[in-house]
């Protein structure tokens, strides 16, 4: 993984000093809250419903054991003993005190971590496929490019006061696990016939109040042009993006209102001006950064058959293997998904002890590497299959062995009204109730692949628009009310879910989900036809009828 050199270390230390000074000037009254707000947001500090929240960056979701232990330490020392992993591969702490935040940042800096640009109207943490460098279907590791983008975008002098936040995601596999088409810029890395690296570039995706799938603006952008092209996009956005209404300020609205062809022409014109300039990436620099991400040496005898034997004897292990192992490019290896969705618990939460346990497993069995997935789970990307039974035992001891990756209980949910000042409804308790309703192993596995995503307000942090079943909590006449969408998807065949009909009360929404699931079970052609495929085949009519009757 990427390691800081002296420059990076000095950069992060100087940033901690700068923010410490900003906090001091805020407390002294030299900065009012309006002036301080963008400064603290650019350092991941939100003012939530009950307290400040600190969001720590985990660039492209990659971290090592020492970093995970440091997060555990922060959770234990400065928070209430847990942290919450987010859909943008970061972690947030919900209960730090403002005066402690400089000290937390100093602690994080000792393990090459920071909170830079995890919030605010700037370029946010760059995300990537959580199975990068491991997945069997991967063409190339997207993280070196994510790292180059991370560096270039850090404290960018021109792009720190954008109309709105700006999110970039990169994937290097044909099956898109990074949801690049619902980002402001989505990059799909690939190779041309001669083996040259380039990117399909998508612009203007996003969820929120006005969900949109990104539009393709380049089929193959050569890698050396990556920064110049992104700068061109950002400059066009910074100059022309709307600033009169924060809900219409994302680049997706600019794409929509200007028209993709016109905007593309603007971007290309800007790009032509700068493409041969200082931002052109030298190949030796790309290679130097790429070397940091070299895969660990893989053993030839990583699968001695012991996993198969152990699975045959232990149905719980067999279920874990079936759901939580992902095909690895090296023979005998697998990537293990560590579910942060134990039945009935808040999605994405991990206690300090659990973080330490994961760190220990990564150090012992996983080449000291951990990933955070945008589905709010953790991943050990490189493990020997022979070690899986031991890892499973370790996860069981930590309460992290739920065999539900990709199943109905592997729910994405935003913090909702339990934490967030914007929320209009609870989302975590809805996730917990759904999880309990479908929680038996047999039932989950019978239902098969199903992504449920829950947002507690129209800002859509729970990505409900791209849930196979999406749930949006709103407030209606003082009551929480839940709207259901069907057919959303955030992969290479992205689609925005359609509202099925009138919403449901907090009490009734779980029954409604169960009706939808039962309807699917009744109409699927084979158990292999998953919910989304069945919905795409039959449309919404049978689901509508099941929910609302034929009248």
């Amino acid at each position: 993984m990427y390691r800081y050199d002296e420059f990076d270390t000095d950069f992060v230390s100087a940033r901690v000093e700068q923010f410490t000074d900003q906090v001091r000037r805020r407390l002294a009254g030299d900065l009012d809250e309006e002036q301080f707000k963008p400064l603290r947001l650019m350092n991941g500090v939100y003012l939530q419903l009950h307290a400040y929240m600190l969001r720590v960056a985990i660039p492209y979701g990659t971290l090592n054991g020492a970093q995970m232990r440091k997060l555990a330490y922060v959770a234990r020392t400065y928070d209430r003993g847990y942290g919450h992993f987010t859909t943008r591969q970061n972690i947030q702490f919900n209960w730090p005190r403002l005066k402690d935040i400089p000290a937390i940042l100093e602690e994080l800096a000792t393990v090459e971590m920071h909170a830079i640009q995890t919030s605010g109207n700037c370029i946010r943490n760059v995300t990537a496929d959580h199975f990068s460098a491991a997945a069997a279907d991967e063409i190339l590791d997207p993280r070196p490019y994510a790292e180059i983008l991370r560096q270039w975008s850090s404290l960018h002098p021109e792009f720190s006061f954008l109309p709105r936040k700006f999110k970039i995601a990169v994937t290097g596999a044909p099956h898109d696990r990074a949801a690049v088409q619902v980002h402001d810029i989505g990059l799909q890395a690939k190779r041309d016939a001669d083996g040259n690296v380039g990117f399909t570039v998508f612009v203007g995706g996003g969820l929120g109040r006005t969900p949109m799938i990104a539009r393709k603006v380049r089929d193959f952008l050569p890698e050396e042009d990556l920064l110049a092209y992104c700068e061109a996009i950002l400059r066009v956005y910074n100059r022309y993006g709307r600033r009169d209404n924060k809900y219409k300020a994302r680049i997706k609205i600019l794409v929509h209102e200007t028209g993709v062809e016109t905007l593309k022409a603007d971007i290309e014109r800007e790009f032509e001006e700068i493409r041969h300039g200082v931002l052109r990436l030298p190949q030796d620099e790309i290679d130097r950064i790429t070397d940091y991400f070299a895969a660990p040496p893989f053993d030839a005898d990583a699968d001695d058959g012991s996993l198969d034997r152990a699975s045959a004897a232990d149905p719980a292990l067999a279920a874990f293997v079936e759901r939580n192992l992902h095909a690895h490019k090296a023979p005998g290896y697998a990537s293990v998904t560590i579910s942060l969705k134990p039945i009935g618990k808040a999605p994405g939460d991990a206690t300090a002890d659990q973080m330490d346990a994961v760190a220990a497993l990564a150090e012992r069995y996983g080449h000291d590497e951990i990933r955070v997935s945008h589905e709010q789970n953790l991943v050990l990307p490189h493990v020997r299959k022979a070690d899986v039974p031991a890892i499973f035992e370790g996860l069981k001891a930590a309460g992290l062995a739920e065999a539900n990756a990709g199943l109905v209980t592997d729910i994405i949910a935003c913090p909702g009204m339990d934490f967030c000042a914007l929320a209009t409804a609870r989302s975590i308790p809805v996730a917990q109730r759904i999880s309990e309703r479908f929680g038996t192993p047999e039932r989950q596995r019978d239902i098969g692949d199903l992504k449920i995503k829950i947002s507690g307000c129209i800002n859509a942090c729970g990505h409900h628009h791209v849930g196979h079943i999406g749930i949006l909590g709103v407030e209606k006449k003082g009551e929480e009310y839940y709207q259901i969408t069907l057919g959303g998807s955030g992969d290479e065949n992205s689609s925005i879910g359609e509202i099925i009909g009138r919403g449901f009360s907090y009490d009734d929404v779980v029954d409604a989900v169960e009706t939808l699931v039962d309807t699917y079970i009744g109409l699927r052609e084979t158990p292999q036809e998953d919910f989304l495929a069945a919905y795409r085949r039959v449309g919404d009519a049978p689901f509508k009828e099941a929910l609302y009757g034929t009248a």
């Binding site: 109207n121 560096q151 021109e158 100059r239 931002l279």
Partner: protein, 173 residues
């Protein structure tokens, strides 16, 4: 009233005066005009009157291209510090159009934004915010003096192997 113009490390007297759309043009002196008025006055103004221009956030710097060689000063207005269009305006003026006169940030100019403005090519700042003024007078530095992207500020030098990393001109190694 004390000088508001911060330049070259100190507050200095300002020879220029801002004029609005309806203010009468004087016969002599040095005035800063909004873009539209500048464009309509530039050909007819008396030789004794020096003109500069104020670009608002939505103004297109390309409109100044025919006049840049004769302009000593361009002011860029930050009506709200949170509106970042002026940063792009500055970079376009400096890099695209090669403007090398005084580039002045005016309006809601605050301490924490000045380092970013400098890197985009601003060389002068009109300061009205009292805590910012105090901090500048005290030489209070809030900058992260390591940069991860090339920019317009004069004298920045490459730092290490990375093509995109820079250090400020004056910093000790």
């Amino acid at each position: 009233m004390a000088a508001q113009l911060y330049k070259d490390g100190g507050f200095v007297a300002d020879d220029w005066r801002h004029l609005g759309d309806d203010d009468l043009l004087p016969e002599a002196g040095a005035v800063i005009l909004p873009l539209a008025r500048f464009l309509e006055s530039v050909a007819t103004a008396p030789a004794s009157l020096k003109l500069a221009v104020l670009l608002r956030a939505a103004d297109d710097p390309d409109a100044l291209a025919p006049h840049l060689s004769r302009l000593e000063l361009i002011a860029v207005d930050f009506a709200k510090f949170s509106d970042g269009r002026g940063y792009s305006t500055a970079r376009l003026l400096c890099r695209r159009h090669g403007f090398d006169g005084e580039l002045r940030a005016v309006g809601d100019v605050l301490l924490d934004q000045i380092p970013l403005m400098r890197r985009c090519g601003f060389t002068a700042f009109e300061i009205v915010h009292a805590p910012t003024r105090r901090a500048l007078e005290a030489g209070h530095n809030v900058e992260v003096p390591l940069y991860l992207q090339p920019a317009e500020r004069a004298g920045e030098r490459p730092a290490g192997a990375r093509a995109w990393a820079r250090r400020p001109a004056a910093s000790p190694v």
